[in-house]
Symmetry: C2
Subunit: 317 residues, 2 copies
C-alpha cells in the first residue's frame, strides 16, 4: 500500500482539475419544523451522482501512455457511470464489473456511455477478483470506488462547493456513506465542520467502526435494504482513517425513513435514490443532535428505476 | 392602465431586490442527440416554481402602510404559492382564489404557507371578479400573475441568472408560456438571445398571437391538457408586447411530448410538472430550428401530484 493519504491540499488540487468538467450542483435551502437547512443536490451531478468527481480526478492523472489500455472498475452503478463518463471524455476504453441485479437504469446508463458492462453474481462471485483479472489481462488501470487517494480527493470537492456556495463554514454536514469516499473527502475539505455519516440500519458498519475505534464489517445476515449504492461490506482504512481523524459520528436510518426522505425531496423537485436520501432521512427523522449547528445534508445520487420511485411516491403512509 | 412598461433596467433592479431571497437555481448541462444543451432548473426555486421571483418583487414594493390589509391573488397554484411565500416573509396576510380542481399539492402548499385559500369553480365562476371583490372589501392589493410590471420584471431575473451562470449570452432560450410573464421577463433580460416560447397544443395562443401580430385567445373548445399551469385563456398586452418586440416565436408540443420530457428530466434527477416541461419537450421533440444556437431550456415548475408523476413515470411508451 502506498504511503500517500488523501489531504486537504489534494482536494484543492482536485477542484482545479474538475473545474469546468463537473456540474456545479446547487445548495438549496429548505425548511423543516420551522428551521432552515441546506441540501447539497449532488444528485444532479453529471451521471446522477457524485461519483463523476472522483472518477475524473483519478482518470485525468493516468499518464497518456497508459490510457489506451483503458480502465476497469467494479460498481453497483454510480461509480460505474462516473468512470464510464470520465473515460469517454478522456478517450479511454472502460470495462465495468456490475452486479447482475444492479438497477437497470444504472446498467443502461453505463452502457450508453460506451463502457463494456461485465455482469457478475453478487452472491457467488467476487467482483474484486473479476476486475483484477481483467485489469491484468488488458494492462488496464483498476479504479477503486473509494479506496483510492485520487478518488477520495475528487469526491471531497463537494465540500469545497458547499463552502463557496454557503459563504461560510457549515456547522454540520451529513453525508450518505457506503465505502466512505464521499464523506472522507468532505471531512478533509471541511475540517472545521462536524461530519455525520448516515447509513441504512444493519449496514451501519462505518458508524459502528467510528463508535468503536476500529473497522467492523457488515454482518453476513444484514437485513434487506433498498439502498443499493450503500451495500459495501467493509470500508477502507483510508476512508475510516480520515473520518476517525475528523471526529466523525454515524447515524442509521430505517427503510421507511429513507423512503419518507425521498418523498420530501420530491416535494422540493428532486429525484433522490434510496441510498442518496439517507442523510436527509437522518435529519427529518430527528436523529441528529438537537443543537444550533447550521446543517447541510448531501443528497448523493438520483439513479433509481422509475417503477421503484413511483412505488415510493404512491406508498400509503 | 399605467404608462409604465417592464424594462431591462427594471429586471436589474428586481435582481438586487431578490438577492438572498430567492434560491440560485442551477443551470445544468445535458446531452441530447450528441449535442450539449443547458437546463435552467427553475423548478427548484423556493415553492417549486419561478413565481416566487415576481411575487416577491411585487410585494416588496408595497408601501409599509398598505401591508396590513394584505394581498389577494388568483392562481391555479404556482403563483398562489409564490404570493403566499412572499407575503409570509413580509408579514402580510394573503388570500388566494384557486380553482376547486387545482392540484392538491399546490393547494396544500399554499395553505401550509399560511394563506387563506378561496376555491372557485373554473367552469362557472370568474376568478378575476372574485379576487377583485375581495380586494375591494379588504383594501388588499391585487397581485396579478403576469399582467404587472413588477411581476414580469421579477420573473425576468431568471434570465440574468442564466447569463451569469453560463458566462455568455445564450443563442436561444426556450421558455414555457402561460400568460407570458416568465418569457417576457427573460426576453427583457436577454435582449440578444432568440426567445422561443413553448405551449401545449391547442393552448398555443401566445405562439399564434406572435405569428399573427395580434393577440388571439385560446378557443372555447381547446383540448384537454395536463399542463394546469399553462391554461391561460388570454395573454396580456404587456407580455405579448415585450415578446413581440423581442421577435420571439412559439412552438406547441403534444401531451405525449411533455410527458416524455418529464421522463427525460427524471433521468437528470429533476421533478418537473407538465407545464414546466414544455420547453424541454420542444427541444427533445425536434421542434426547434436545427441551427447552431447554444440553447437553454427553462423548466419552470415542479409541483405535480405524486400519483400523477408516478403514472407518467410508469407509462408504457
Amino acid at each position: 500500500m502506498s504511503e500517500k493519504v488523501p489531504s486537504y491540499e489534494g482536494v484543492v488540487a482536485a477542484a482545479a482539475r474538475l473545474s469546468g468538467i463537473v456540474a456545479e450542483t446547487p445548495l438549496l435551502p429548505f425548511e423543516h419544523r420551522g428551521r432552515l437547512h441546506w441540501l447539497k443536490a449532488e444528485s444532479l451531478q453529471r451521471g446522477g451522482a457524485f461519483k463523476y468527481r472522483g472518477a475524473y480526478n483519478r482518470l485525468a492523472q493516468i499518464a497518456p501512455e497508459n490510457r489506451p489500455a483503458g480502465v476497469v472498475a467494479f460498481s453497483s452503478g454510480n461509480h460505474a457511470q462516473g468512470v464510464a463518463r470520465a473515460a469517454k471524455l478522456l478517450g479511454m476504453p472502460a470495462a465495468i464489473v456490475m452486479p447482475a441485479d444492479a438497477p437497470a437504469v444504472k446498467v443502461a446508463g453505463t452502457r450508453a456511455l460506451g463502457a463494456e458492462v461485465i455482469p457478475y453474481d453478487r452472491h457467488t462471485e467476487s467482483r474484486e477478483q473479476i476486475a483484477a483479472r481483467i485489469a491484468a489481462e488488458r494492462g488496464a488501470v483498476l479504479v477503486p470506488s473509494f479506496d483510492d487517494v485520487d478518488v477520495v480527493e475528487g469526491q471531497g470537492t463537494t465540500g469545497l462547493d458547499i463552502l463557496r456556495q454557503l459563504g461560510r463554514v457549515p456547522g454540520r454536514v451529513v453525508v450518505p456513506c457506503g465505502g466512505g469516499g464521499l464523506s472522507a473527502g468532505i471531512a478533509l475539505a471541511l475540517p472545521e465542520s462536524a461530519i455525520v455519516i448516515a447509513e441504512p440500519e444493519g449496514w451501519d458498519d462505518m458508524g459502528r467502526s467510528l463508535a468503536g475505534g476500529a473497522i467492523v464489517e457488515v454482518p453476513a445476515d444484514a437485513p434487506f435494504t433498498a439502498c443499493d449504492a450503500l451495500q459495501t461490506k467493509r470500508v477502507a482504512d483510508m476512508t475510516f482513517g480520515a473520518l476517525k481523524a475528523a471526529g466523525a459520528t454515524g447515524v442509521a436510518v430505517s427503510e421507511a425513513e429513507h423512503r419518507a426522505a425521498m418523498r420530501f425531496a420530491y416535494d422540493l423537485g428532486l429525484v433522490v435514490e434510496p441510498g442518496g436520501a439517507v442523510a436527509l432521512a437522518a435529519l427529518l427523522a430527528g436523529k441528529l443532535p438537537d443543537d444550533d449547528a447550521e446543517t447541510v445534508v448531501v443528497c448523493s445520487g438520483s439513479n433509481v428505476d422509475p417503477a421503484q420511485f413511483a412505488a415510493v411516491l404512491t406508498e400509503r403512509v
